[in-house]
């Protein structure tokens, strides 16, 4: 009897000791120390959960850029080491991941895409003086005086005025309805849009919230028909846009359908078929733009990953090339100097083909570049007008 309990005790103790040591080593272990030959640029992005689609696109854009750069010898002779860490679309995990890579002294941080996660992590980036290239489009990101955050696409405070001008000048609409997806992307766009409409004295006669993943838009279209607006601004993700367009055509909704980037994307046209014809709007980043570099990128992406990219793919790709160009210009790896150099920097495709389009970063980290007014004609996106950069 005594022998047996003694036996059990001893093994229990051994197990606990072992457990303790295991724990210590597992948490304490430096996750991925950068070697002298490599430059450490972690990507922290939504790879599972609600943001998985955008995050996967963003990641694959980055992978493409990193492969190209490394194949040509890297930046200043150093290869890029870009691990991809999943935020699980959750701000607390995003914060943990950024905290973690900070311990290993990154040169730059890439991601996240969700604006909420960007807002949490950019504070850490600022504390550690590490630049962060983000995919988020919420206007708040660049309005907090953070000198280490850089966008890779228009903030909504820039894209919405362009749409608003088009609705006022191009369509001469008196009333407008807005249909938006109720997440941080859609709500941010909707709030900026409504503000721009108010300042142009255009009346918003219907303001309709939809759910992400919604499949049945019958009720929403019924409401839009009742509102009878001159123009309907649609701000939802790709699949929802396509389902909405089909329902709108079915119920023969009147009024111009206006979108921003997603509504005119190739994916929506492919999914909605004929129902997408006649859709107009503003297009920021798209592989369908009349710019050969962007088309070529789209083909390259499709070949490498076997699916068509959305604007997040381009954003990720551009981020890496912006870092490359700015670093080579500096001639050294210095995070703080890079952040300083990025402000006011213009990169042209002649200097750096990977940037795809002439782009400027302003003092807040906002990006400025040309964009397009487009229309879907015969199942193809047609660019009607090129809108120049704002800063000109």
């Amino acid at each position: 009897m005594t022998t047996s309990t003694h036996f059990a005790r001893k093994s229990a103790l051994r197990r606990r000791l072992l457990g303790g040591m295991l724990l210590a080593s597992l948490i304490g272990l430096p996750a991925m120390s950068a070697s002298a030959q490599e430059i450490f640029i972690p990507n922290i992005v939504e790879l599972s959960g609600a943001g998985a689609v955008s995050g996967t696109n963003w990641r694959d854009g980055i992978i493409l850029a990193v492969e190209e750069i490394n194949a040509k010898g890297g930046i200043l002779g150093k290869k890029l080491n870009v691990p991809h860490l999943d935020t699980q679309s959750d701000a607390s995990v995003a914060r943990a991941q950024v905290q973690k890579v900070m311990d290993d002294k990154p040169y730059v941080i890439l991601g996240p895409v969700f604006s909420g996660s960007v807002l949490v992590t950019m504070a850490l980036a600022q504390q550690n003086e590490i630049p962060e290239f983000v995919g988020g489009e919420a206007s708040a990101i660049t309005q907090r005086g953070n000198k280490f955050v850089f966008r890779t696409a228009f903030g909504q405070q820039f894209s919405m005025p362009k749409i608003a001008n088009y609705i006022r000048d191009g369509l001469k609409a008196q009333t407008v309805a807005v249909l938006w997806v109720n997440n941080d992307f859609g709500k941010g766009g909707r709030d900026n849009f409504v503000k721009e409409m108010a300042s142009r004295n255009i009346k918003v006669v219907a303001d309709i919230s939809t759910e992400s993943g919604q499949v049945d838009f019958a009720a929403d279209v019924v409401k839009l028909k009742a509102a009878n607006a001159d123009a309907v601004f649609v701000y939802t993700n790709e699949e929802e846009s396509a389902r909405f367009l089909k329902e709108a055509r079915k119920q023969s909704l009147k009024g111009s359908l206006i979108g921003e980037t997603t509504l005119l994307s190739q994916k929506v046209i492919e999914l909605a078929g004929d129902a997408a014809n006649g859709v107009k709007g503003h297009v920021g980043l798209t592989s369908d733009a009349p710019i050969p570099a962007l088309n070529a990128f789209g083909e390259k992406f499709k070949k490498r990953f076997n699916y068509a990219n959305d604007h997040n793919g381009i954003k990720g790709y551009i981020a890496v090339y912006a870092i490359k160009h700015a670093t080579e210009k500096l001639g050294k790896f210095d995070s703080k100097a890079l952040a300083d150099a990025m402000h006011g920097l213009t990169i042209t495709p002649e200097q750096e083909p990977g940037i795809l389009m002439n782009s400027t970063w302003d003092a807040n980290g906002d990006i400025d570049r040309a964009s397009f007014l487009g229309e879907v004609v015969g199942g193809k996106q047609k660019v009607v007008e090129v809108l120049p950069k704002l800063g000109k």
Binding site: T56, V215, A218, A219, E239, A242
Partner: protein, 292 residues
């Protein structure tokens, strides 16, 4: 008026799908006390079986659809019962609940990692065109969906009520002990319900995917809707689940149009709470007796 009709038909089509999924859900609960938290994913995944059959094996859509249903019956019916449900039943409801939650996560991640994270176009049973009746526009797709779903649910109802096998299955669901005494092969009956559930899910999958597009997240809302529909209608009655599903689909559309779009998801849940408080056996259900 025509807009009201429009909403009604649209809601009916969505509701018919909910009903298909909810019926299977409550059948599983009745015969084996399985609360299947992966039910939504059971509807999401057969579309990918079909897509694999088309893209990898190069089969035509109708054959691929049949293969999809067969694979679903095998994997989501037989394998699911043998590998996951059977070993856990003796441990009570809770481990099985957790296991199906993990299973739903597994299926979602598997599709995302091994097929695609993007929504996939899916072939349709009927050509996509619109039909106008009494000033209301119907899409041929949702009409076909509605018809097939109603036929399937009706056939199932007839099978359970009017065939010997169906009645044996019902007896098993209502009281396995007595059923066993009556000489019914309870084990086999339970396996049949798992088969029926998987086939219903596969049919639902093939019906909705042309409209919803095949995507790894499709199960999230569907599973929850089936769950709610089953409880509203009456957890222990297949008939109840049908009524619950259709009611839910119509209610969702009417609320989005006439009450609040921001809170459209809240309405079925409020209804659920009200039902639980005032008619816990569900609209069509019987009072369940407590066993020791």
């Amino acid at each position: 008026m025509s807009s009201f009709l429009q909403l009604l038909v649209s809601g009916l089509a969505t509701g018919a799908i909910y009903a298909l999924v909810a019926v299977g859900f409550s059948l599983l609960w009745q015969t084996s006390q399985t609360i299947n938290f992966a039910q939504g994913e059971f509807v999401m995944i057969p579309a990918f079986f079909v897509l694999v059959a088309i893209k990898v094996l190069g089969l035509s859509f109708p054959i691929a659809a049949l293969i999809g249903i067969a694979v679903a019956a095998l994997v989501l019916g037989v394998l699911f019962k043998r590998v996951i449900v059977d070993p856990m039943l003796k441990h009570g409801v809770l481990p099985l609940v957790v296991s199906t939650i993990a299973l739903s996560l597994f299926m979602r991640e598997a599709v995302k990692d091994f097929y695609s994270s993007q929504a996939q176009p899916f072939p349709s049973l009927v050509a996509d065109h619109d039909i106008t009746i009494f000033g209301t526009v119907f899409s041929a797709q949702s009409l076909a969906l509605l018809v097939v779903a109603l036929v399937v649910v009706g056939a199932l109802h007839g099978f359970l009520q009017h065939t010997r096998l169906g009645r044996m299955m019902q007896a098993t669901a209502q009281n396995p002990t007595v059923a066993r005494i009556l000489g019914i092969e309870v084990e086999r009956m339970i396996l049949y319900t798992f088969l029926i559930n998987s086939i219903l899910c596969a049919i639902a999958s093939i019906l909705i995917s042309p409209i919803y597009l095949a995507k790894f997240t499709n199960g999230e809302t569907l599973g929850l809707a089936a769950f709610v529909a089953a409880i509203i209608g009456g957890f222990n009655q297949a008939r109840g689940a049908m009524v619950g599903g259709v009611l839910l689909g119509i209610l969702d559309n009417l609320c989005a149009a006439y009450v609040s779009a921001q809170y459209r998801a809240a309405v079925p849940l409020l209804l659920l709470v009200v039902i639980i408080l005032f008619r816990p056996q569900g609209l069509m259900g019987r009072v369940e007796e407590r066993t020791v």
